[in-house]
């Protein structure tokens, strides 16, 4: 009997349908019956993962931590099946205006720091944790200006970071937080005009999304899914457009060593508390 598997994913953009439809065709061609369920936000997805609505979740790093903590509270285990090469070793930056008064982290005291969506690991939670580790607490030592775009999607949408960058250039805020890839993109496309800003500081490295499975899921189809993912080659013209859309050159085995910064951010900000309470995992 052919394997079948259901995936949960968040619809952060219309292209998500194109992506998973494409994967569906690819998996079907390799004997794996694949279907997917889309959610409007990661919290609902995590909740439904535990409700058994699907077998594997394509999780943001924050959704991974949510899942892992609920699993622990329920005496079960979550594991990271696979991730993109581009999910590994990311870094965020805190940018300031070149001619502005902020020359060091200490100068942020009393200033306004722009961040992305409130649930964005890369543009909000991790940079604020980075500042906290340097003695600067949001709300106490500096004001936070949120550029909330599509809350619930954990910063998958670039919009909040771009808005923060633009506000920095216009002088409406004193610093803006964003992931390194977006800093590169904004520098290249002129959103951050040349010589108008500089990077004040960089966070440590962290990882991004992963395919998450819970103990008890049917092992054979999960193993087949992993095998097919890791076997995808960017050389293969049939799957390259999918990999381009999903933003990777290769799938890698999942690892969970890159979530420490975000764990610390969650612990300090108690960001997860309401959700974990709602899941009976506080």
């Amino acid at each position: 009997m052919p394997h079948s598997i259901r995936l949960g994913a968040v619809a952060y953009d219309p292209k998500v349908v194109t992506i998973w439809d494409g994967f569906q065709a690819f998996f079907a061609a390799h004997g794996l019956a694949f279907d997917y369920v889309l959610y409007t936000n990661y919290e609902r997805q995590v909740e439904q993962h535990f409700a058994g609505a699907f077998d594997v979740a394509w999780n943001s790093p924050l959704a991974w931590i949510e899942t892992e903590r609920v699993a622990r509270a329920r005496n079960t285990r979550a594991s990271a099946l696979a991730m993109r090469d581009t999910d590994c070793d990311l870094r965020s930056v805190i940018a300031v205006r070149e001619e502005g008064p902020v020359r060091s982290l200490a100068h942020l005291a009393g200033k306004v720091v722009g961040v992305g969506a409130q649930d964005s690991p890369q543009a909000t939670l991790i940079p604020l944790e980075h500042l906290a580790q340097h003695g600067l607490l949001a709300g106490r030592d500096f004001e936070v200006r949120r550029f909330d775009v599509l809350v619930g999607k954990h910063g998958d949408h670039v919009g909040g970071e771009r808005l923060a960058a633009q506000a920095l250039v216009r002088g409406e805020i004193d610093a803006a937080c964003m992931i390194d890839g977006n800093h590169l993109a904004f520098s290249t496309d002129g959103s951050l005009p040349r010589a108008s800003t500089r990077v004040l500081d960089r966070t440590g490295l962290f990882d991004h999304c992963n395919f998450t499975v819970l103990d008890g899921a049917d092992a054979a189809p999960i193993a087949r899914l992993r095998e097919l993912l890791l076997g995808m080659r960017y050389d293969d013209a049939a799957v390259r457009p999918l990999m381009d859309l999903e933003g990777l050159k290769a799938w890698l085995p999942g690892r969970t060593s890159g979530y420490a910064l975000l764990e610390q951010a969650c612990d300090r900000s108690r960001w997860l508390a309401p959700f974990l309470r709602s899941m009976g995992a506080a």
Partner: protein, 393 residues
């Protein structure tokens, strides 16, 4: 292979990506690139750039060591050339996977195929296509500048009415002559680009003809003439003809060919300088459309012995389809007589009538000549010419 790239002060905000892309184009998986540079955020941006491309980056003392990842050149693997660029070596069959790519371009594999109905050289290609396109492109004219719109209009009102009647007929015909090439232009595989270009230009020329005829008609009259059921029925058979060769024969060889005589007649009997110049210039354009169809069909008729029979069938079938229609609008016929006569004086009318009869004879002779050039014998040519629509186009 190991190379080095010295970026000096160049950062990604000033185009460093262009130099890296150049290195990427000539690299193979596993090749190494030593990068040096002093731009402030270079290391940060190199890391993000390398990660997105699947390359490994290690920061050293004096710079960075980049190892190109397995996906390097992936886009070129399995890619295929969309034929050769020269028109002399077009492919027999243009493949759907070439899509919109320029002829001779390297097409990445994996794209969605884009099918074109007319994708075989044997259907649509002919050797002088490029030459005809160049000639057509060089012969374009500007209605505003090239027509003497301010020339005096001193002829009687009734002659103007006759002219407007004929112009109404011409606009309707040119509209059909625009739609036919415009429709086929979207069906020809872009590999045969000179044919697409010729069709596009032909449509654009008809658009210009519609403009000048309309503008001339409006010089002295606020209303246009009569559009008849029979006239539109005749043109409809052209617009709806799905076969490229049959459409070329019916529209261009026979229809526009017949119009060459009509336009020469109208130029000769034009009541004013603007009309005469319009007819002269339009005739030159139409002659190119006829030449296009003759070159295409002539070459294909020589290569395909069955083509002439199919073309003859097209003429016969159109004749049968139009048998019950009225043929040429009587008002147009009378208007031609009056234009040639210049007035309603009975003797002048008689002469005008004779000139129109002469015109009909010239049209028939022209059609027979062109059919003979396509390889029909004298008897077939005469018979087929006689079956051509009485509506001229």
């Amino acid at each position: 292979m190991r190379r080095s790239l010295a970026l000096a002060g160049l950062g990604f905000d000033r185009g460093a990506g262009v130099l890296l892309a150049r290195e990427l184009r000539r690299a193979q998986p596993g090749d190494e690139l030593e990068i040096t540079g002093s731009a402030r955020e270079l290391g940060l941006h190199l890391a993000a750039w390398a990660r997105a491309g699947g390359h490994a980056l290690v920061e050293g003392r004096g710079g960075w060591a980049l190892r190109f990842g397995p996906s390097t050149q992936a886009r070129r693997r399995g890619a295929q050339r969309a034929g050769a660029p020269e028109p002399s070596s077009v492919a027999e069959h243009a493949r759907p996977c070439w899509g919109l790519a320029a002829r001779g371009a390297l097409v990445e594999a994996g794209g969605q195929a884009l099918g074109f109905r007319l994708d075989r050289a044997e259907e649509i290609w002919f050797s002088s296509a490029a030459e005809l396109y160049r000639a057509a492109a060089a012969a374009q004219w500007d209605p505003s500048a090239d027509i003497p719109w301010d020339a005096p209009l001193e002829h009687p009102d009734e002659v103007e009415d006759a002219l407007v009647c004929v112009l109404t007929f011409l606009i309707e015909n040119e509209t059909a002559a625009l739609l036919v090439p415009a429709r086929f232009a979207t069906q020809v595989h872009p590999h045969f680009r000179e044919v697409v270009q010729l069709l596009a230009l032909q449509a654009a020329e008809e658009a210009r003809h519609i403009e000048v005829f309309s503008r001339r008609a409006a010089l002295r009259r606020g209303e246009l003439g009569l559009s008849t059921v029979g006239g539109q029925a005749s043109l409809r058979t052209l617009v709806e003809e799905p076969d490229f060769a049959r459409a070329a024969l019916l529209l261009s060889v026979l229809g526009e060919g017949t119009f060459l005589n009509l336009l020469a007649f109208l130029r000769e009997h034009a009541p004013d300088a603007a009309s005469a110049e319009i007819m002269r210039r339009v005739a030159i354009d139409e002659a190119r459309h006829v030449a296009f169809a003759m070159a295409h069909l002539g070459e294909h008729a020589r290569a395909d012995a069955t083509l002439r029979a199919r073309l003859a069938a097209a003429i016969t079938q159109r004749h049968e389809a139009l048998r019950a229609s009225a043929g040429l609008n009587e008002e147009v016929f009378d208007a031609l007589v009056l234009l040639a006569a210049g007035s309603f004086d009975p003797e002048a009318i008689a002469q005008g009538h004779a000139r129109v009869q002469e015109l009909l004879g010239q049209m028939d002779a022209g059609r027979r000549l062109r059919l003979r050039k396509l390889g029909f014998d004298e008897r077939e040519a005469a018979e087929l010419s006689g079956l051509h629509t009485r509506n001229f186009m």
